[in-house]
Symmetry: C2
Subunit: 328 residues, 2 copies
Amino acid sequence: MVTASAPGKVYLFGEHAVVYGEPAVPCAIGLRASVTAEERSAGMRIQASDLSLDGFTVEYDGEGRDHPDIDVPDTLVQAAMGYVDEAVTQVREAADAPEASFEITIESEIPLGAGLGSSAAVAAAAIEAGTRELGVEITPTEIAERAYRVENTVQDGQASRADTFCSTMGGAVRVEGDDCHSIESPDLPFVIGYDGGAGDTGALVAGVRERRKEYEFAADTIEAIGDVVRRGEQALTANDTEEIGNLMDFNHGLLSALGVSSRTLDSMVWAARNAGCLGAKLTGAGGGGCIVALDPTPETLTALEYTHGCEEAFRAELDTDGVRVESE
Amino acid sequence: MVTASAPGKVYLFGEHAVVYGEPAVPCAIGLRASVTAEERSAGMRIQASDLSLDGFTVEYDGEGRDHPDIDVPDTLVQAAMGYVDEAVTQVREAADAPEASFEITIESEIPLGAGLGSSAAVAAAAIEAGTRELGVEITPTEIAERAYRVENTVQDGQASRADTFCSTMGGAVRVEGDDCHSIESPDLPFVIGYDGGAGDTGALVAGVRERRKEYEFAADTIEAIGDVVRRGEQALTANDTEEIGNLMDFNHGLLSALGVSSRTLDSMVWAARNAGCLGAKLTGAGGGGCIVALDPTPETLTALEYTHGCEEAFRAELDTDGVRVESE
């Protein structure tokens, strides 16, 4: 029985613009998904708990699958099972063990569907746990690649490499097209506010695409985000958290112009700013979900806890650890 | 005794960027300042009421001035008296009557200091009323020029020609540098939300200047606002209010990126959008003050009336009338 964990992530800079070839900087955060894999003779069993939903258990033999008897939206459960199924497929391939079966247990501190990369973390942790359980050790690069394939299959070819790479490697990552690599970063005292909802990623991405096609100044706005990111990389290298904060604020405004913010996201961003954080922005697809603020003091967390529309607020520092084995 | 009135204004597009040579489109709105001028033998008397403050009366002889005995901030009263003083100077010059004295009464529906151009409206109406009272009729172009001089003197050479031109001419105006001219516009069903406060215009303008100097992408953002305005002119010509709304939304996001929005402004903008308005943005210097939304239905007004942080909400359609004589 092996337990591995992998971190969630926030976008420090560059979401949406990354779709058009601009660079982006996701950062791993100290909220983790843990996956325990235990080989069993036949038939899969998946248990999930604390996925910011009530948890579910489903047992099946590969032919059919019982419908899990739980009170959460079908789509979330199907999605979560889809990621585990595909991760197991990758494990079998990596370990050259096409018949391997597992009991898989998932625990996660990362709210599901909040844009914090829970699925990438589950995929990376499941691949690490499954291969180790079969006595095989694969490189982080291979884990990242296979976790990407998991996401890409479940997400119908629409996955970005950023989430899985960041979750596997930890720390700050620079993404540009298919190229991902780790970059230097100072400690980043993130505070996250979550409105309990989620935007429709597909519709939000399509909305930006439409604006970009319709308005040349929307294309310029996307390029400006790229310039913010490039400046942000310099600020990371220079360990200039104040500048990083200013750039987060600017990035948020440009995302708002592109139509991907929301009332609660802006409300949380302002609560954080008025509390004196260094900077705040939405993270991920937008339309709802999470904001990330930079604040070494306790003020922003407290402010978010008292902000109408903020369901949950928590600290989640930059996590330099990526996927790791917790026990075996 | 002559009473003249002139309208306030909102910025449909382009505030802040206009400082850097981009075009902007202010629009006159159906909220008016009325000024009554009655010649008197000697000594000035100024009465103001309903300037969204408690009103004041002050009587003086040109040598000194009694301090008005009222419960409003000194600075606002001094400012209001400054505009009237300078308007009277312009009237005397225009009518070649250096000794003329007046009893001046100001009434205004335009909240003072809310960025809705109350001072420009008072200046334009006072010049029209004063000259007419002296039996002199001057052209709108001269009124606009003289009203600009009033603002420029009181504002230490920092005034824009936009407010006074727009208030004098009415309707929609295109401003680019010192060039102002009227442009075609469809009916625009504006709804205004006012947070009861005001940003520090000087500090906000300086903040944008600093960002523009520091970041090339801030300069690009300012240019993008110019492009929004140019597209907006086309939409006005084409009578495409839906497009005008989309462009207002985009303009607001770019202003947010430049750091001139605020928590209450964003809160009102979202209340309006969620109520289904065609578009919404801050108007004027930002940091507090007013938002303007476009909505032919009653929804936005109602939503703003119930929005925390919105002190006052009102309809104020585009007003095609500029300065006009109400009675003589």
